[in-house]
């Protein structure tokens, strides 16, 4: 009777094991079990297989093979080799195959074969067919596992990249961006160390495990070879790979301002996968992108700082003009913000409110100094000049696009609740919120400071006066909130409070 084998099915049956069933026409059904040694590094040398085939399966166990079995239809599994002990059985042939970097043993195993089937030629043919099939199958499995492995890696990298781009949008400080960039890079590249070496001599070292960074001087690095190629990398603009001290290093420029660049140095220990072209491309694009973000955020910070300083200089020039109002604008800005915060104004709006308070008197630049500092009562003409300052401030600031949100506060900070104020005589319901807040802060600060025409009132007396003004002149709700917030400040930060209102506090002791 002719005997042959063909693959019937393939199932993956738990980690590291593959079962191949082969059916033999006219003969007993058999299956092959492919057993991978538990130890990935353990080789199964051919001579062990031969020994095994000659009746000593324990040599296979010594070579790291865990177990091996054969099944036959209609009977219980017969284990041929378990923990090195051999059961009954007949090992026909074997061929070692490497699967996914591991040594895999392929064995074609025969159970009890009916005497009429046991002709050597039949067995030989069957063994040849099955082992050939198994080898091909193993190679196919190997290919598909390798592809699956690549897909997994690509998935991981893709989702890390997506994560990075969505998280980077949420951080604004250059240091935060740099830390996020370093952390993501370390994970994307699966590296053991990561440092940012700067041309300014400083190194930021990332703790890959916990994501924190520490700074040190990179020239303190004891390894001269490392220092040499870090120094070299600071002079070139390309990504390079170096190896030293059993490690491979990848060095990539991180663009900084003024045509300078830092160098990000990552390393893997020997034995880890080598850096590949894809790593270089990814690092290159990630750092160009991240570097530009860091630089833009730094530039943005510089510009913001400059505009704040320029504004403060301008404001202090106004305050200097009016001898008695030193620090007045700063305090009104501060107290307006404090009140707005207590009223639940949003953070973005708080910035606008503070600026509006800071610049509310900018129009006084157009009022003559002798009027501002006149000790006695003002004439109607002189008072009209004073009353022109809110509109003048508004006109000065109006051309500045970014200051549009603060204009209403500047223009209307002298409107009274009963419509008796200036410049437009608006009633409370028509007066913008910022203007109502600034009005309270402005009146309080005027009362608690010494003026050309009177001495300062004490803090408590000033509060009493604004409370009397609430309703007719000032917004009653804002006045109450202001008073509570001011008391809160006095209790929680007494030193700051004392430095803001030194004279009014002195008056309290009198």
């Amino acid at each position: 009777m002719e005997s042959y084998c063909h693959p019937r099915q393939e199932t993956l049956n738990g980690p590291g094991m593959m079962q191949v069933a082969a059916s033999c026409a006219g003969g007993p059904k058999q299956s092959l079990t492919i057993v991978r040694p538990d130890e990935p590094s353990a080789a199964v040398p051919l001579h062990c297989l031969r020994t095994c085939l000659n009746g000593d399966p324990s040599s296979l166990h010594k070579a790291g093979c865990a177990w091996l079995r054969s099944t036959r239809s209609g009977s219980a599994d017969s284990t041929l080799l378990r923990n090195g002990k051999c059961d009954k059985g007949y090992l026909a042939d074997a061929e070692p195959v490497t699967l996914h970097g591991r040594h895999v043993l392929l064995l074609s195993v025969d159970g009890t074969i009916p005497p009429e089937m046991a002709r050597p030629a039949d067995i030989e043919e069957r063994v040849e067919n099955t082992s050939d099939m198994a080898v091909r199958l193993a190679r196919a499995v190997e290919d598909s596992e390798r592809l699956a492995e690549e897909v997994l890696q690509n998935y991981e990298q893709l989702s890390l990249l997506f994560d990075f781009t969505s998280q980077i949008a949420e951080v604004t400080e250059p240091e935060q961006i740099e830390r996020l960039l370093m952390n993501r890079m370390a994970r994307l590249l699966n590296v053991e160390t990561l440092e940012v070496v700067s041309s300014r001599g400083e190194t930021h070292v990332l703790d890959v495990a916990d994501g924190t960074t520490t700074a040190r001087h990179w020239r303190d690095e004891p390894d001269a070879q490392y220092t040499a190629f870090a120094e070299q990398a600071l002079l070139t603009h390309s990504v390079t790979v170096k190896s030293a001290n059993d490690r491979s290093y990848l060095l990539c420029p991180l663009p900084r301002l003024q045509d300078q660049h830092d160098v990000v140095v990552v390393s893997r220990p020997s034995g880890a996968p080598e850096f590949i072209s894809g790593d270089l491309q990814m690092v290159g694009s990630l750092l160009t992108f991240g570097g530009n973000l860091i630089n833009n955020s730094e530039l943005h910070g510089h510009l913001r700082q400059m505009s704040i300083e320029a504004t403060r200089a301008l404001v202090s020039a106004i305050d200097k003009k009016d001898h008695y109002t030193s620090g007045h604008s700063e305090r009104v800005g501060f107290m307006s913000r404090m009140t707005g915060e207590a009223l639940g104004v949003t953070v973005d709006q708080l910035d606008h409110l503070e600026w509006s308070g800071l610049l509310h008197d900018i129009g006084k630049i157009g009022v003559a100094e002798d009027i501002l500092n006149k000790p006695g009562k003002l004439t109607d003409v002189e008072f009209d000049q004073i009353k022109a300052h809110p509109r003048m401030g508004y006109e000065i600031l109006k051309p500045i696009e970014s200051l549009q949100p603060i204009l209403a506060g500047v223009l209307h900070h002298h409107e009274n609740a009963d419509g008796s104020g200036y410049p437009d005589g608006l009633e409370l319901k028509d007066t913008p919120l910022f203007a109502r807040i600034i009005h309270v802060a402005d009146v309080f600060d005027a009362l608690s400071s010494t003026r050309s025409y009177r001495k300062a009132f004490s803090v408590e007396r000033s509060i009493e006066i604004i409370q009397e003004m609430a309703g007719a002149k000032l917004d009653a709700e804002i006045t109450a909130t202001f008073t509570a917030a001011l008391h809160g400040l006095r209790e929680s930060r007494p030193e700051e409070f004392a430095s803001m209102f030194p004279i009014a506090l002195e008056e309290e002791l009198v």
């Binding site: 993956l12 738990g14 980690p15 598909s144 596992e145 592809l147 699956a148 492995e149 897909v151 997994l152 690509n154 998935y155 991981e156 893709l158 989702s159 890390l160 994560d163």
Partner: protein, 127 residues
């Protein structure tokens, strides 16, 4: 280590997911559509079900509905999908032990999620 049923009609993606989960030490059963998965869940009572949404014969949403009706939903359910409306699907399905991950998913995060779902205290048996 958990018993997991993976329902995914794309053989390559299924292979990738299963290879990954087996490597994490889980016991994995593969299903190529919702109907096969339903039978597997009923037979093997896995702790966790990982399912695609768009599948032939029975899709992931129908599968989850069937399981809920029979009161045999696994403890943890991870829905992997490449549909653009994955957020809406997540809101629609929201419940304890239910997680929606858009494809391409992060293998590390999937492994962490399955470990977490596997180690959570089992729900009290209903009497």
């Amino acid at each position: 280590m958990s018993r997991v049923v993976v329902a995914e009609d794309d053989a390559h993606i299924r292979r990738v997911i299963c290879l990954w989960l087996r490597r994490q030490g889980h016991e994995v059963f593969e299903a190529s559509n919702g109907r096969v998965a339903l039978d597997m869940v009923l037979e093997h009572e896995p702790r966790i079900l990982v399912t695609d949404v768009n599948m032939p014969l029975m899709d992931g949403i129908e599968l989850l509905k069937e399981l809920t009706e029979r009161d045999c939903s696994p403890h943890g359910i991870v829905v992997l999908t490449n549909r653009w409306d994955h957020r809406e699907i997540g809101e629609q399905l929201a419940g304890p032990g239910m997680h929606v991950m858009p494809k391409p998913f992060s293998p590390t995060r999937l492994a962490e999620l399955i470990d977490q779902l596997g180690s959570e205290a089992p729900e009290e048996a209903s009497t």
